[in-house]
Subunit: 287 residues, 2 copies
Protein backbone atom coordinates (compact mmCIF):
# COMPACT_ATOMS: atom_id res chain seq x y z
CA UNK A 1 0.00 0.00 0.00
CA UNK A 2 2.63 2.48 1.15
CA UNK A 3 4.73 1.66 -1.89
CA UNK A 4 1.84 1.85 -4.34
CA UNK A 5 0.89 5.21 -2.88
CA UNK A 6 4.42 6.49 -3.41
CA UNK A 7 4.38 5.20 -6.98
CA UNK A 8 1.12 6.97 -7.82
CA UNK A 9 2.21 10.18 -6.13
CA UNK A 10 5.52 10.18 -8.00
CA UNK A 11 3.67 9.64 -11.29
CA UNK A 12 1.39 12.60 -10.60
CA UNK A 13 4.26 14.86 -9.56
CA UNK A 14 6.27 13.92 -12.61
CA UNK A 15 3.27 14.46 -14.89
CA UNK A 16 2.61 17.89 -13.41
CA UNK A 17 6.21 18.86 -14.11
CA UNK A 18 6.29 17.41 -17.59
CA UNK A 19 2.82 17.75 -19.05
CA UNK A 20 1.70 21.10 -17.80
CA UNK A 21 4.22 23.54 -19.12
CA UNK A 22 5.60 21.69 -22.09
CA UNK A 23 5.87 24.78 -24.23
CA UNK A 24 8.22 26.49 -21.84
CA UNK A 25 6.12 29.39 -20.72
CA UNK A 26 8.76 30.95 -18.54
CA UNK A 27 7.13 34.13 -17.32
CA UNK A 28 5.64 35.36 -14.08
CA UNK A 29 2.26 33.78 -14.79
CA UNK A 30 3.98 30.45 -15.18
CA UNK A 31 5.88 30.94 -11.91
CA UNK A 32 2.68 31.81 -10.09
CA UNK A 33 0.92 28.74 -11.47
CA UNK A 34 3.79 26.45 -10.56
CA UNK A 35 4.22 27.98 -7.12
CA UNK A 36 0.86 26.63 -5.98
CA UNK A 37 0.65 23.57 -8.21
CA UNK A 38 3.99 22.12 -7.14
CA UNK A 39 3.66 23.00 -3.46
CA UNK A 40 3.14 19.42 -2.41
CA UNK A 41 -0.05 17.97 -1.03
CA UNK A 42 -1.26 14.41 -0.77
CA UNK A 43 -2.29 14.20 -4.45
CA UNK A 44 -5.32 12.23 -3.27
CA UNK A 45 -7.41 13.19 -6.31
CA UNK A 46 -4.74 12.29 -8.84
CA UNK A 47 -4.08 9.04 -7.04
CA UNK A 48 -7.76 8.11 -7.19
CA UNK A 49 -7.81 8.52 -10.98
CA UNK A 50 -4.74 6.31 -11.46
CA UNK A 51 -5.86 3.63 -9.02
CA UNK A 52 -9.39 3.46 -10.45
CA UNK A 53 -7.99 3.09 -13.95
CA UNK A 54 -5.66 0.27 -12.96
CA UNK A 55 -8.33 -1.45 -10.88
CA UNK A 56 -10.42 -1.97 -14.03
CA UNK A 57 -7.58 -3.17 -16.23
CA UNK A 58 -6.78 0.17 -17.84
CA UNK A 59 -3.43 1.59 -18.85
CA UNK A 60 -2.44 4.05 -16.15
CA UNK A 61 -0.90 6.33 -18.82
CA UNK A 62 -4.39 6.99 -20.18
CA UNK A 63 -5.50 8.33 -16.80
CA UNK A 64 -2.34 10.31 -16.10
CA UNK A 65 -3.30 13.54 -17.94
CA UNK A 66 -6.57 13.46 -16.00
CA UNK A 67 -4.83 12.84 -12.69
CA UNK A 68 -2.62 15.86 -13.33
CA UNK A 69 -5.51 17.99 -14.60
CA UNK A 70 -7.65 17.30 -11.53
CA UNK A 71 -4.73 18.33 -9.31
CA UNK A 72 -4.49 21.55 -11.37
CA UNK A 73 -8.18 22.18 -10.77
CA UNK A 74 -7.72 21.51 -7.06
CA UNK A 75 -4.75 23.92 -6.98
CA UNK A 76 -6.67 26.67 -8.79
CA UNK A 77 -9.56 26.33 -6.34
CA UNK A 78 -7.21 26.80 -3.40
CA UNK A 79 -5.61 29.91 -4.96
CA UNK A 80 -8.99 31.56 -5.54
CA UNK A 81 -10.25 30.40 -2.11
CA UNK A 82 -7.34 32.08 -0.38
CA UNK A 83 -7.91 35.49 -2.05
CA UNK A 84 -8.63 38.45 0.20
CA UNK A 85 -12.18 38.69 -1.18
CA UNK A 86 -12.74 35.02 -0.30
CA UNK A 87 -11.18 33.41 2.79
CA UNK A 88 -8.32 35.92 2.96
CA UNK A 89 -5.75 33.31 3.97
CA UNK A 90 -2.12 34.31 4.00
CA UNK A 91 -0.54 30.90 4.65
CA UNK A 92 -1.12 27.47 3.13
CA UNK A 93 0.97 24.36 3.65
CA UNK A 94 3.54 26.40 5.52
CA UNK A 95 4.09 28.86 2.67
CA UNK A 96 2.66 32.32 1.96
CA UNK A 97 -0.42 32.02 -0.26
CA UNK A 98 -0.24 32.81 -3.96
CA UNK A 99 -1.58 36.36 -3.78
CA UNK A 100 0.78 37.23 -0.93
CA UNK A 101 3.73 36.35 -3.16
CA UNK A 102 2.47 37.38 -6.62
CA UNK A 103 -0.24 39.94 -5.85
CA UNK A 104 -3.99 39.55 -6.18
CA UNK A 105 -4.24 40.18 -9.93
CA UNK A 106 -1.62 37.58 -10.79
CA UNK A 107 -3.16 35.08 -8.34
CA UNK A 108 -6.54 35.43 -10.05
CA UNK A 109 -4.87 34.85 -13.43
CA UNK A 110 -2.81 31.93 -12.12
CA UNK A 111 -6.05 30.27 -11.00
CA UNK A 112 -7.75 30.98 -14.33
CA UNK A 113 -4.73 29.62 -16.17
CA UNK A 114 -4.56 26.40 -14.14
CA UNK A 115 -8.27 25.77 -14.62
CA UNK A 116 -8.20 26.36 -18.38
CA UNK A 117 -4.95 24.50 -18.97
CA UNK A 118 -6.38 21.53 -17.06
CA UNK A 119 -8.95 21.17 -19.83
CA UNK A 120 -6.25 21.58 -22.46
CA UNK A 121 -4.37 18.73 -20.84
CA UNK A 122 -7.41 16.44 -20.63
CA UNK A 123 -8.40 17.19 -24.23
CA UNK A 124 -5.09 15.73 -25.40
CA UNK A 125 -6.04 12.25 -24.23
CA UNK A 126 -6.12 9.43 -26.79
CA UNK A 127 -8.53 7.02 -25.06
CA UNK A 128 -11.86 6.69 -26.91
CA UNK A 129 -13.77 7.81 -23.82
CA UNK A 130 -11.67 10.93 -23.24
CA UNK A 131 -14.57 13.26 -23.97
CA UNK A 132 -16.86 11.42 -21.52
CA UNK A 133 -14.24 11.60 -18.81
CA UNK A 134 -13.63 15.29 -19.48
CA UNK A 135 -17.36 15.98 -19.23
CA UNK A 136 -17.42 14.21 -15.87
CA UNK A 137 -14.66 16.47 -14.55
CA UNK A 138 -16.23 19.64 -15.99
CA UNK A 139 -19.56 18.87 -14.33
CA UNK A 140 -17.84 18.14 -11.02
CA UNK A 141 -15.79 21.34 -11.07
CA UNK A 142 -18.29 23.94 -12.29
CA UNK A 143 -21.49 25.54 -11.05
CA UNK A 144 -23.16 22.14 -10.64
CA UNK A 145 -20.26 20.98 -8.47
CA UNK A 146 -17.31 22.60 -6.74
CA UNK A 147 -17.92 26.23 -7.70
CA UNK A 148 -21.57 25.79 -6.78
CA UNK A 149 -20.45 24.40 -3.43
CA UNK A 150 -18.24 27.41 -2.79
CA UNK A 151 -21.16 29.72 -3.47
CA UNK A 152 -23.35 27.62 -1.16
CA UNK A 153 -20.69 27.78 1.55
CA UNK A 154 -20.62 31.59 1.27
CA UNK A 155 -24.21 31.75 2.41
CA UNK A 156 -23.85 29.00 5.05
CA UNK A 157 -25.69 26.44 2.98
CA UNK A 158 -28.96 28.39 2.68
CA UNK A 159 -31.66 27.47 1.71
CA UNK A 160 -30.61 24.24 3.47
CA UNK A 161 -30.31 24.23 7.24
CA UNK A 162 -28.27 22.39 9.86
CA UNK A 163 -26.85 19.03 8.83
CA UNK A 164 -28.58 19.23 5.45
CA UNK A 165 -26.67 22.44 4.73
CA UNK A 166 -23.40 20.81 5.76
CA UNK A 167 -24.17 17.79 3.58
CA UNK A 168 -24.98 19.92 0.55
CA UNK A 169 -21.81 22.00 0.96
CA UNK A 170 -19.66 18.89 1.44
CA UNK A 171 -21.17 17.08 -1.51
CA UNK A 172 -20.65 19.92 -3.96
CA UNK A 173 -17.54 21.63 -2.62
CA UNK A 174 -15.45 18.56 -1.82
CA UNK A 175 -17.31 15.42 -2.79
CA UNK A 176 -17.67 16.14 -6.51
CA UNK A 177 -13.94 16.51 -7.03
CA UNK A 178 -13.30 13.24 -5.20
CA UNK A 179 -15.90 11.28 -7.14
CA UNK A 180 -14.87 12.68 -10.53
CA UNK A 181 -11.33 11.23 -10.64
CA UNK A 182 -12.63 7.78 -9.69
CA UNK A 183 -15.27 7.88 -12.42
CA UNK A 184 -12.91 9.43 -14.98
CA UNK A 185 -10.21 6.87 -14.17
CA UNK A 186 -12.70 4.04 -14.71
CA UNK A 187 -13.96 5.55 -17.97
CA UNK A 188 -10.37 5.62 -19.19
CA UNK A 189 -9.98 1.89 -18.52
CA UNK A 190 -11.92 -1.12 -19.71
CA UNK A 191 -14.66 -0.69 -17.12
CA UNK A 192 -18.27 -1.48 -17.97
CA UNK A 193 -21.03 1.02 -17.24
CA UNK A 194 -22.01 -1.07 -14.23
CA UNK A 195 -18.47 -0.96 -12.87
CA UNK A 196 -18.39 2.80 -13.42
CA UNK A 197 -21.60 3.09 -11.41
CA UNK A 198 -19.95 1.15 -8.54
CA UNK A 199 -16.96 3.47 -8.72
CA UNK A 200 -19.28 6.44 -8.51
CA UNK A 201 -20.85 5.00 -5.35
CA UNK A 202 -17.38 4.50 -3.88
CA UNK A 203 -16.42 8.06 -4.73
CA UNK A 204 -19.57 9.55 -3.23
CA UNK A 205 -19.20 7.74 0.08
CA UNK A 206 -15.45 8.36 0.20
CA UNK A 207 -16.08 12.06 -0.37
CA UNK A 208 -18.46 12.28 2.58
CA UNK A 209 -16.15 10.23 4.81
CA UNK A 210 -13.18 12.39 3.77
CA UNK A 211 -14.92 15.59 4.76
CA UNK A 212 -16.26 14.31 8.09
CA UNK A 213 -12.82 12.96 8.96
CA UNK A 214 -11.26 16.28 7.96
CA UNK A 215 -13.70 18.12 10.22
CA UNK A 216 -12.94 15.71 13.09
CA UNK A 217 -9.18 16.15 12.64
CA UNK A 218 -9.67 19.93 12.59
CA UNK A 219 -11.45 19.66 15.92
CA UNK A 220 -8.59 17.69 17.42
CA UNK A 221 -6.23 20.32 16.00
CA UNK A 222 -8.30 23.14 17.45
CA UNK A 223 -8.46 21.44 20.85
CA UNK A 224 -4.72 21.02 20.83
CA UNK A 225 -4.17 24.61 19.73
CA UNK A 226 -6.57 25.97 22.31
CA UNK A 227 -5.34 23.66 25.04
CA UNK A 228 -8.78 22.58 26.10
CA UNK A 229 -11.38 19.94 25.47
CA UNK A 230 -13.98 20.39 22.81
CA UNK A 231 -16.31 23.09 24.01
CA UNK A 232 -19.67 24.06 22.62
CA UNK A 233 -18.28 27.41 21.53
CA UNK A 234 -15.79 25.73 19.20
CA UNK A 235 -18.32 23.40 17.69
CA UNK A 236 -21.09 25.87 17.10
CA UNK A 237 -19.24 28.51 15.16
CA UNK A 238 -18.46 26.26 12.20
CA UNK A 239 -20.54 24.64 9.47
CA UNK A 240 -19.07 21.18 10.12
CA UNK A 241 -20.45 17.71 10.59
CA UNK A 242 -19.34 17.36 14.24
CA UNK A 243 -20.62 20.84 14.98
CA UNK A 244 -24.07 19.77 13.83
CA UNK A 245 -24.40 16.30 15.36
CA UNK A 246 -21.61 16.06 17.91
CA UNK A 247 -18.25 14.36 17.73
CA UNK A 248 -19.47 10.85 18.57
CA UNK A 249 -22.22 10.80 15.99
CA UNK A 250 -19.90 12.29 13.36
CA UNK A 251 -17.45 9.51 14.03
CA UNK A 252 -20.23 6.93 13.53
CA UNK A 253 -21.14 8.57 10.22
CA UNK A 254 -17.53 8.49 9.06
CA UNK A 255 -17.40 4.76 9.83
CA UNK A 256 -20.69 4.17 8.04
CA UNK A 257 -19.60 6.08 4.92
CA UNK A 258 -16.23 4.33 4.84
CA UNK A 259 -17.93 0.93 5.03
CA UNK A 260 -20.34 1.91 2.28
CA UNK A 261 -17.42 3.02 0.11
CA UNK A 262 -15.61 -0.28 0.67
CA UNK A 263 -18.78 -2.25 -0.01
CA UNK A 264 -19.27 -0.49 -3.35
CA UNK A 265 -15.94 -1.93 -4.49
CA UNK A 266 -17.02 -5.57 -4.03
CA UNK A 267 -17.52 -6.29 -7.75
CA UNK A 268 -13.83 -5.52 -8.32
CA UNK A 269 -12.70 -8.20 -5.88
CA UNK A 270 -9.01 -8.27 -5.03
CA UNK A 271 -8.19 -5.64 -7.65
CA UNK A 272 -9.85 -3.09 -5.37
CA UNK A 273 -7.26 -3.61 -2.63
CA UNK A 274 -5.65 -0.18 -3.02
CA UNK A 275 -8.84 1.87 -3.07
CA UNK A 276 -10.28 -0.18 -0.20
CA UNK A 277 -7.22 0.30 1.97
CA UNK A 278 -7.08 3.99 1.09
CA UNK A 279 -10.59 4.47 2.49
CA UNK A 280 -9.85 2.44 5.62
CA UNK A 281 -6.55 4.21 6.28
CA UNK A 282 -8.29 7.54 6.04
CA UNK A 283 -10.68 6.51 8.79
CA UNK A 284 -7.92 5.17 10.97
CA UNK A 285 -6.29 8.61 11.06
CA UNK A 286 -9.01 9.78 13.46
CA UNK A 287 -8.62 6.85 15.81
CA UNK B 1 -25.60 40.38 -44.28
CA UNK B 2 -27.61 42.35 -41.75
CA UNK B 3 -30.22 39.60 -41.68
CA UNK B 4 -27.71 36.77 -41.40
CA UNK B 5 -26.01 38.61 -38.55
CA UNK B 6 -29.32 38.88 -36.72
CA UNK B 7 -29.99 35.19 -37.30
CA UNK B 8 -26.63 34.14 -35.85
CA UNK B 9 -26.94 36.52 -32.92
CA UNK B 10 -30.43 35.22 -32.11
CA UNK B 11 -29.16 31.64 -32.24
CA UNK B 12 -26.36 32.45 -29.80
CA UNK B 13 -28.65 34.31 -27.42
CA UNK B 14 -31.17 31.50 -27.47
CA UNK B 15 -28.48 28.89 -26.91
CA UNK B 16 -27.06 30.81 -23.96
CA UNK B 17 -30.51 30.89 -22.40
CA UNK B 18 -31.31 27.27 -23.14
CA UNK B 19 -28.05 25.34 -22.98
CA UNK B 20 -26.24 26.94 -20.12
CA UNK B 21 -28.49 26.51 -17.16
CA UNK B 22 -30.53 23.54 -18.20
CA UNK B 23 -30.57 22.04 -14.74
CA UNK B 24 -32.29 25.02 -13.24
CA UNK B 25 -29.61 26.26 -10.91
CA UNK B 26 -31.63 29.10 -9.47
CA UNK B 27 -29.35 30.54 -6.83
CA UNK B 28 -27.24 33.64 -6.45
CA UNK B 29 -24.28 32.12 -8.30
CA UNK B 30 -26.57 31.46 -11.24
CA UNK B 31 -27.90 35.02 -11.13
CA UNK B 32 -24.38 36.42 -11.07
CA UNK B 33 -23.35 34.24 -14.03
CA UNK B 34 -26.41 35.21 -16.04
CA UNK B 35 -26.12 38.91 -15.16
CA UNK B 36 -22.90 39.22 -17.14
CA UNK B 37 -23.51 36.50 -19.72
CA UNK B 38 -26.85 37.83 -20.88
CA UNK B 39 -25.89 41.52 -20.78
CA UNK B 40 -25.80 41.84 -24.55
CA UNK B 41 -22.73 42.41 -26.64
CA UNK B 42 -22.13 41.85 -30.32
CA UNK B 43 -21.67 38.06 -29.95
CA UNK B 44 -18.86 38.39 -32.51
CA UNK B 45 -17.09 35.26 -31.26
CA UNK B 46 -20.18 33.09 -31.28
CA UNK B 47 -21.12 34.39 -34.70
CA UNK B 48 -17.68 33.47 -36.07
CA UNK B 49 -18.09 29.86 -34.95
CA UNK B 50 -21.51 29.51 -36.58
CA UNK B 51 -20.53 31.25 -39.83
CA UNK B 52 -17.30 29.25 -40.18
CA UNK B 53 -19.21 26.01 -39.68
CA UNK B 54 -21.83 26.88 -42.30
CA UNK B 55 -19.21 28.17 -44.73
CA UNK B 56 -17.69 24.69 -44.92
CA UNK B 57 -20.96 22.81 -45.28
CA UNK B 58 -21.40 21.93 -41.61
CA UNK B 59 -24.58 21.75 -39.57
CA UNK B 60 -24.79 24.95 -37.55
CA UNK B 61 -26.27 23.00 -34.63
CA UNK B 62 -22.94 21.22 -34.20
CA UNK B 63 -21.18 24.55 -33.68
CA UNK B 64 -23.84 26.08 -31.46
CA UNK B 65 -22.62 24.69 -28.09
CA UNK B 66 -19.17 26.02 -28.99
CA UNK B 67 -20.53 29.42 -30.01
CA UNK B 68 -22.27 29.66 -26.65
CA UNK B 69 -19.27 28.32 -24.73
CA UNK B 70 -16.88 30.85 -26.27
CA UNK B 71 -19.25 33.66 -25.31
CA UNK B 72 -19.24 32.23 -21.75
CA UNK B 73 -15.45 32.32 -21.75
CA UNK B 74 -15.50 35.89 -23.06
CA UNK B 75 -18.00 36.86 -20.34
CA UNK B 76 -15.91 35.27 -17.57
CA UNK B 77 -12.81 37.11 -18.77
CA UNK B 78 -14.64 40.44 -18.57
CA UNK B 79 -15.90 39.71 -15.03
CA UNK B 80 -12.40 38.86 -13.77
CA UNK B 81 -10.90 41.80 -15.74
CA UNK B 82 -13.23 44.25 -14.04
CA UNK B 83 -12.35 43.11 -10.49
CA UNK B 84 -10.84 45.69 -8.12
CA UNK B 85 -7.53 43.81 -8.12
CA UNK B 86 -7.44 43.94 -11.93
CA UNK B 87 -8.84 46.94 -13.89
CA UNK B 88 -11.20 47.99 -11.10
CA UNK B 89 -14.00 48.96 -13.47
CA UNK B 90 -17.40 49.76 -12.01
CA UNK B 91 -19.39 50.07 -15.24
CA UNK B 92 -19.61 47.91 -18.36
CA UNK B 93 -22.07 48.23 -21.21
CA UNK B 94 -23.99 50.83 -19.24
CA UNK B 95 -24.50 48.55 -16.22
CA UNK B 96 -22.64 48.22 -12.92
CA UNK B 97 -20.00 45.50 -13.18
CA UNK B 98 -20.54 42.07 -11.67
CA UNK B 99 -18.62 42.64 -8.42
CA UNK B 100 -20.40 45.94 -7.82
CA UNK B 101 -23.72 44.09 -7.85
CA UNK B 102 -22.80 40.71 -6.33
CA UNK B 103 -19.62 41.43 -4.38
CA UNK B 104 -16.07 40.43 -5.19
CA UNK B 105 -16.23 36.86 -3.91
CA UNK B 106 -19.35 36.01 -5.91
CA UNK B 107 -17.91 37.71 -9.01
CA UNK B 108 -14.78 35.56 -8.80
CA UNK B 109 -16.97 32.45 -8.48
CA UNK B 110 -19.28 33.57 -11.31
CA UNK B 111 -16.24 33.83 -13.57
CA UNK B 112 -14.92 30.45 -12.45
CA UNK B 113 -18.34 28.91 -13.01
CA UNK B 114 -18.75 30.36 -16.51
CA UNK B 115 -15.30 29.18 -17.54
CA UNK B 116 -15.79 25.64 -16.23
CA UNK B 117 -19.35 25.29 -17.48
CA UNK B 118 -18.18 26.39 -20.94
CA UNK B 119 -16.11 23.21 -21.09
CA UNK B 120 -19.05 21.18 -19.81
CA UNK B 121 -21.13 22.57 -22.65
CA UNK B 122 -18.51 21.89 -25.32
CA UNK B 123 -17.91 18.37 -24.04
CA UNK B 124 -21.54 17.52 -24.78
CA UNK B 125 -21.02 17.91 -28.52
CA UNK B 126 -21.76 14.93 -30.79
CA UNK B 127 -19.56 15.81 -33.79
CA UNK B 128 -16.62 13.38 -34.21
CA UNK B 129 -14.14 16.27 -33.96
CA UNK B 130 -15.61 17.72 -30.76
CA UNK B 131 -12.50 16.92 -28.75
CA UNK B 132 -10.21 18.61 -31.32
CA UNK B 133 -12.37 21.73 -31.32
CA UNK B 134 -12.44 21.78 -27.51
CA UNK B 135 -8.67 21.53 -27.41
CA UNK B 136 -8.43 24.49 -29.77
CA UNK B 137 -10.57 26.61 -27.45
CA UNK B 138 -8.72 25.50 -24.31
CA UNK B 139 -5.37 26.42 -25.83
CA UNK B 140 -6.71 29.81 -26.95
CA UNK B 141 -8.20 30.63 -23.56
CA UNK B 142 -5.49 29.48 -21.14
CA UNK B 143 -1.95 30.44 -20.26
CA UNK B 144 -0.80 29.98 -23.87
CA UNK B 145 -3.54 32.37 -25.03
CA UNK B 146 -5.91 34.81 -23.38
CA UNK B 147 -4.86 34.39 -19.74
CA UNK B 148 -1.23 34.63 -20.85
CA UNK B 149 -2.11 37.83 -22.71
CA UNK B 150 -3.68 39.31 -19.59
CA UNK B 151 -0.55 38.57 -17.63
CA UNK B 152 1.57 40.10 -20.40
CA UNK B 153 -0.63 43.19 -20.42
CA UNK B 154 -0.13 43.58 -16.66
CA UNK B 155 3.55 44.13 -17.21
CA UNK B 156 3.11 46.31 -20.33
CA UNK B 157 4.20 43.54 -22.65
CA UNK B 158 7.67 43.05 -21.15
CA UNK B 159 10.06 41.54 -22.23
CA UNK B 160 8.74 42.85 -25.57
CA UNK B 161 8.95 46.57 -26.29
CA UNK B 162 7.02 49.13 -28.29
CA UNK B 163 4.95 47.79 -31.17
CA UNK B 164 6.21 44.25 -30.54
CA UNK B 165 4.77 44.42 -27.03
CA UNK B 166 1.44 45.68 -28.36
CA UNK B 167 1.39 42.92 -30.98
CA UNK B 168 2.12 40.20 -28.43
CA UNK B 169 -0.57 41.46 -26.06
CA UNK B 170 -3.13 41.75 -28.89
CA UNK B 171 -2.35 38.34 -30.29
CA UNK B 172 -2.73 36.54 -26.99
CA UNK B 173 -5.30 38.62 -25.15
CA UNK B 174 -7.74 39.22 -28.01
CA UNK B 175 -6.57 37.43 -31.14
CA UNK B 176 -6.61 33.89 -29.77
CA UNK B 177 -10.26 34.04 -28.78
CA UNK B 178 -11.18 35.39 -32.23
CA UNK B 179 -9.22 32.75 -34.12
CA UNK B 180 -10.46 29.85 -31.96
CA UNK B 181 -14.17 30.08 -32.86
CA UNK B 182 -13.32 30.20 -36.58
CA UNK B 183 -11.10 27.13 -36.30
CA UNK B 184 -13.51 25.28 -34.00
CA UNK B 185 -16.45 26.08 -36.28
CA UNK B 186 -14.56 24.67 -39.25
CA UNK B 187 -13.53 21.56 -37.33
CA UNK B 188 -17.19 20.96 -36.52
CA UNK B 189 -18.09 21.02 -40.22
CA UNK B 190 -16.85 19.05 -43.21
CA UNK B 191 -13.74 21.19 -43.65
CA UNK B 192 -10.46 19.65 -44.77
CA UNK B 193 -7.27 20.33 -42.86
CA UNK B 194 -6.23 22.74 -45.60
CA UNK B 195 -9.48 24.65 -45.26
CA UNK B 196 -9.02 24.78 -41.51
CA UNK B 197 -5.57 26.27 -42.04
CA UNK B 198 -7.09 28.98 -44.25
CA UNK B 199 -9.69 29.70 -41.58
CA UNK B 200 -6.91 30.02 -39.03
CA UNK B 201 -5.18 32.60 -41.25
CA UNK B 202 -8.43 34.50 -41.56
CA UNK B 203 -8.91 34.45 -37.79
CA UNK B 204 -5.38 35.65 -37.07
CA UNK B 205 -5.59 38.62 -39.42
CA UNK B 206 -9.13 39.44 -38.33
CA UNK B 207 -7.98 39.41 -34.71
CA UNK B 208 -5.23 41.93 -35.38
CA UNK B 209 -7.51 44.12 -37.50
CA UNK B 210 -10.20 43.96 -34.79
CA UNK B 211 -7.85 45.18 -32.11
CA UNK B 212 -6.29 47.99 -34.18
CA UNK B 213 -9.76 49.18 -35.17
CA UNK B 214 -10.86 49.00 -31.55
CA UNK B 215 -7.87 51.11 -30.54
CA UNK B 216 -8.62 53.61 -33.32
CA UNK B 217 -12.28 53.87 -32.29
CA UNK B 218 -11.19 54.37 -28.69
CA UNK B 219 -9.05 57.30 -29.82
CA UNK B 220 -11.99 58.86 -31.65
CA UNK B 221 -14.04 58.31 -28.50
CA UNK B 222 -11.33 59.89 -26.34
CA UNK B 223 -11.05 62.88 -28.66
CA UNK B 224 -14.78 63.37 -28.53
CA UNK B 225 -14.85 62.97 -24.77
CA UNK B 226 -11.94 65.34 -24.21
CA UNK B 227 -13.22 67.84 -26.80
CA UNK B 228 -9.85 68.19 -28.45
CA UNK B 229 -7.84 66.77 -31.30
CA UNK B 230 -5.59 63.82 -30.78
CA UNK B 231 -2.74 65.02 -28.64
CA UNK B 232 0.50 63.20 -27.96
CA UNK B 233 -0.47 62.92 -24.30
CA UNK B 234 -3.48 60.78 -25.17
CA UNK B 235 -1.56 58.53 -27.51
CA UNK B 236 1.45 57.96 -25.36
CA UNK B 237 -0.16 56.84 -22.17
CA UNK B 238 -1.67 53.67 -23.66
CA UNK B 239 -0.23 50.41 -24.99
CA UNK B 240 -2.14 50.69 -28.27
CA UNK B 241 -1.27 50.31 -31.92
CA UNK B 242 -1.94 53.98 -32.83
CA UNK B 243 -0.01 55.10 -29.75
CA UNK B 244 3.04 53.21 -31.05
CA UNK B 245 3.00 54.06 -34.77
CA UNK B 246 0.57 56.95 -35.12
CA UNK B 247 -3.03 57.04 -36.24
CA UNK B 248 -2.30 57.07 -39.98
CA UNK B 249 0.02 54.11 -39.93
CA UNK B 250 -2.34 52.16 -37.64
CA UNK B 251 -5.12 52.74 -40.14
CA UNK B 252 -2.89 51.38 -42.93
CA UNK B 253 -2.17 48.28 -40.84
CA UNK B 254 -5.87 47.74 -40.18
CA UNK B 255 -6.51 47.86 -43.95
CA UNK B 256 -3.63 45.49 -44.62
CA UNK B 257 -4.80 42.97 -42.02
CA UNK B 258 -8.40 43.13 -43.23
CA UNK B 259 -7.28 42.47 -46.80
CA UNK B 260 -5.13 39.57 -45.66
CA UNK B 261 -8.09 38.13 -43.77
CA UNK B 262 -10.32 38.41 -46.83
CA UNK B 263 -7.64 36.89 -49.05
CA UNK B 264 -7.33 33.86 -46.75
CA UNK B 265 -10.98 33.06 -47.48
CA UNK B 266 -10.47 32.72 -51.25
CA UNK B 267 -10.60 28.89 -51.30
CA UNK B 268 -14.16 29.08 -49.93
CA UNK B 269 -15.39 31.17 -52.87
CA UNK B 270 -18.86 32.62 -52.60
CA UNK B 271 -19.60 30.64 -49.44
CA UNK B 272 -17.24 33.01 -47.60
CA UNK B 273 -19.48 36.01 -48.28
CA UNK B 274 -20.54 36.46 -44.67
CA UNK B 275 -17.10 36.25 -43.08
CA UNK B 276 -15.63 38.44 -45.83
CA UNK B 277 -18.25 41.14 -45.37
CA UNK B 278 -17.90 40.92 -41.59
CA UNK B 279 -14.20 41.80 -41.88
CA UNK B 280 -14.83 44.63 -44.34
CA UNK B 281 -17.69 46.10 -42.31
CA UNK B 282 -15.46 46.13 -39.26
CA UNK B 283 -12.93 48.24 -41.11
CA UNK B 284 -15.56 50.60 -42.47
CA UNK B 285 -16.55 51.53 -38.89
CA UNK B 286 -13.39 53.62 -38.59
CA UNK B 287 -13.94 55.47 -41.84
Amino acid sequence: MEQQMKRYKAMVEEALERLTFAEGLKDELCSAMRYSLLAGGKRLRGMLALAACEMAGGNVQDALPFAAAIEMIHAYSLIHDDLPAMDNDTMRRGKPTNHVVYGEAMAILAGDGLLTDAFLLMSGGAHPRTLDALREVARAAGSFGMVGGQALDMRQGAPYEGLEAVKAIHRKKTGCLITAPVVAGLMLSKATDQQIACGREYGKHLGVAFQIIDDLLDLVGDEAKMGKHLGKDVAEEKMTWPAMVGQESAWESAKYETNAAVKALEPFGEKAAFLRTLAQDMLSRVN
